[in-house]
């Protein structure tokens, strides 16, 4: 439940009571957002944190203090350690507005969100976007059929409802895929097969980055350990799989793949796909921040300096929404951007900011070497990002296929926005989340130009569907008083 400040309750700070604007607004309560809030919450600073989930923790620490599982320890130590962070976050002074949907963030500091069927508005001098990552779309033939889900959704079901789908196939690549399969197995779930699409050459290419990875041996061992655990359970693992296709007309009935030039197929009614995560772009794009195409991670990310500050100086991006860095770096970046914004607000000096952030800045830099290794090793196959088969659906909302887009391209839709106007690809409720990257890469291919020259969709609010009734009722939220004690 969302709670609000009690107007007129005891308040020692005259400055705060006269203000109608928050000093800092943080969007997202994952590791980056929570750490930023803890660091930013000082006596004279009003901080508000908005999150769409009823409990803090983000994706990684989802429900960490209220797991439906009898023994949440099976989800692993990386999950359990989130409880410490969520506890500190709960105790900090930030105003935490939970279970609300932020659907507009303007570069003028205006934030609009849906709360129990009404629209609320607040304003902030500084904004921290910490909206995390989303799974990379997996546009292969049949990926839109019922029965096909992302491995991340399998994990959400696990963390939120303790739900396991037996005899499912997991396919793709990346450490999160192995973690989810391992979590499934630990809970007694039966996994039909893990179809690994990490190509052989990735292992070779990534070796050049291995020296960097060795600086973070703990993390490296973690990845190898998971695969060993899956192997030991007796689960079928197929390596170096290619040409993935979902079988079935109306509903997923299985998965076909090739290995060493031979075609195989496996029947299954539940198929979970995963090939890594990419920044959740909708908010940073809708804010009009400058973005770059990252060749290492094959995704768009906002242009940020080492303090996480974007092309608009009062807007910072922390955590995976600024480029995939993982939970520990995200937490460190949360603290770094918060310190920088305290400097911007004149609460602390630049020197104090530098010294307080020193350790975190060093940590984040050191992790980048390991990230290069991971990104190289789990680089998703071109054929799984840039679909060639004419019938493969690219835009799920408007059901537009590769062939539809090719036709629109030939009619003049040469950049994403023209193609969108021409074909409606990207016009649906997901605001291009599921097709934006595919469209950028497809157009780059067809134009034979770098993705950076092709660009991305111009995005607009609302970032989530809002009903007319919600929009028609409009109230303001202001930092009128100190935070009241939070009730769990």
């Amino acid at each position: 439940m969302t709670e609000f400040f009690t107007p007129g309750s005891s308040d020692s700070s005259a400055e705060e009571s006269s203000s109608i604007s928050y000093d800092i607004a943080i969007i997202g309560a994952g590791p980056a957002g929570m750490s930023a809030a803890i660091t930013a919450s000082r006596a004279s600073v009003s901080v508000v944190v908005l999150d769409d989930k009823p409990r803090s923790g983000g994706q990684i620490y989802r429900n960490v203090d209220a797991s439906p599982l009898p023994d949440a320890e099976v989800l692993g130590p990386d999950y359990i350690k989130g409880a410490e962070l969520t506890t500190r976050f709960r105790r900090c002074n930030a105003h935490h507005i939970r279970g609300v949907t932020v659907w507009h963030v303007g570069d003028n500091g205006e934030i609009l969100f849906s709360d129990n069927g009404t629209t609320k508005r607040l304003t902030a001098r500084q904004i921290i976007v910490a909206t995390g990552a989303m799974e990379r779309p997996f546009p292969i033939p049949g990926w839109h059929l019922p029965g096909v889900m992302s491995a991340g959704s399998a994990q959400v079901m696990l963390k939120s409802d303790g739900l396991v789908r037996d005899e499912a196939i997991f396919a793709g690549t990346g450490p999160l895929l192995y973690l989810i399969v391992a979590q499934y197995l630990r809970l007694g779930g039966k996994v039909k097969a893990l179809i690994d699409t990490t190509p052989k050459q990735n292992y070779l290419h990534s070796m050049t980055e291995l020296s960097g990875a060795m600086r973070a041996p703990g993390m490296l061992i973690k990845g190898v350990g998971l695969l060993n655990e899956i192997r030991k359970s007796g689960t079928k693992i197929v390596s170096f799989a290619e040409d993935l296709k979902i079988l079935g007309e109306e509903q997923a009935e299985g998965l076909s793949y090739t290995r060493g030039g031979k075609e195989y197929s496996l029947p299954a009614s539940h198929i979970f796909l995963h090939q890594g995560v990419i920044p959740n772009l909708n908010m940073t794009q809708a804010l009009g921040l400058e973005h770059d195409w990252c060749k290492q991670q094959l995704c768009w990310k906002p242009k940020l300096n080492r303090w996480g500050q974007s092309s608009k100086s009062h807007i910072a991006v922390a955590g995976d929404s600024g480029g995939i860095i993982g939970a520990d770096s995200a937490a460190a970046m949360g603290r770094i951007v918060a310190l920088n914004q305290l400097v911007n607000l004149g609460v602390i000096s630049a020197l104090e900011g530098e010294s307080e952030a020193a350790d975190d800045l060093t940590f984040v830099a050191s992790q980048q070497r390991f990230r290069r290794f991971i990104d190289r090793l789990y680089r998703p196959l071109d054929q799984q990002r840039i679909p060639e088969s004419p019938g493969t659906v690219v835009c799920r909302c408007e059901e537009r296929t590769v062939a539809d887009l090719k036709k629109g391209f030939e009619l003049g839709g040469r950049e994403p926005n023209q193609l969108k106007s021409q074909t409606r690809c990207g016009m649906g409720p997901c605001q291009g989340r599921m097709c934006g990257h595919t469209v950028s890469e497809l157009l780059a291919n067809w134009r034979n130009q770098p993705v950076a020259d092709v660009g991305y969709y111009r995005l607009r609010s609302p970032m989530r569907l809002v009903t007319l009734a919600e929009l028609s009722q409009f109230t303001d939220v202001t930092p009128k008083a100190k935070k009241t004690e939070e009730v769990n």
Binding site: N108, T119, P462, T467, L468, A469, L471
Partner: protein, 380 residues
Amino acid sequence: MSVNTTSQKLSSDVLVIGGGIQGASTAYHLAQRGVSVTVLEKDTVSRHASGVNAGGVRLLGRNIAEVELSKAAMQRWQQLDDELDADTGFRRRSLINIAADENDLDSLRSREQQMHSLGYFHEVMLDKRELLERLPHVADHCVGGVVSEQDGYAIPFHSTQAFRIAAERLGACFCEGELVEQIRKVGDSWLVDTKTQQYQAEHLVNCAGAWGDLISVMIGDNVPMSYSAPMLMITARMPHFAGPVVGAVSRPLSFKQFENGTVLIGGGAKGFADRANNTTRLDYSLMANGARNAIEFFPIMKTACINRMWSGLEAYMPDNLPVLGKSMRAEKAYHAFAFSAHGFQLGPVIGEVMADLITQGETRFDLEPLRVNRYERKTL
């Protein structure tokens, strides 16, 4: 697509500035008559108002100065897809303006009298029962309305592209990413400089939309034009509840439901335009008013989900009428801009008017009320 040589691009009979629907239609009509024409567009064709407007194809409620043009355009729309061999998305659906009270009915009655006296009979008043028959979901308090049967909507981006592609088929050139920096008349030629090129033509047409005043000044005509950002929103698909396009006599309400079930809601509320940066900002409190209005007139829309909101850059004259016709200060220069948020429907006929002015020196329409210098002071 035709193959055009560079020299053909750089030197043509007519140079059109602005790749919106008016520019594309002008190019089409000229190319049809064998005139060589080049269109300069600073961004991409139909990037601004022509690509993102509400797509209303409206004859109902037109200012008297525009009725003849609008009627001619409406005839063209009925078979435009065949003419251009394209899909503009035009659907004839009729347009109803709803009367919410007796005052609204009074305005409708006096409008009817005026239209009838001028010999126009395309606007027909509806009583409450007739209104309900056509719009069963309209709120109880609505007392009547007025309908124009030929009206409807089209898909703006597709319509503008349709003119462009038809024009290109006939040999017209479209140059995108060409921002005009300077215009000069040297002898009988217009010389137009962009950052990288110089274009030359005998005739010059200003179809620059929200940037029309800047081009107009370069030609030599001052205009008191302003620009703004009318806002729109579109819902996710919902069950069909409205066939006709809907407006209101005295409230900022306007919407249409497309065949796919999505509902486009306008109403004229304006956001903030930043012309220099090609961007607009939305005013969400005004959007909230629009939402309230829609619900008040159509309670079924309460649960409609808004999928996108946007606004485009629009040019306005103080009298909300376009600038249309010959330049007053320069020979062989022509204007068609500042359509004040209702130029889309006129597109098919504006190209014809421009082509007539250029190839015949005159048009069958009375453009006197739309002349570029209508705001110049006669006496000091």
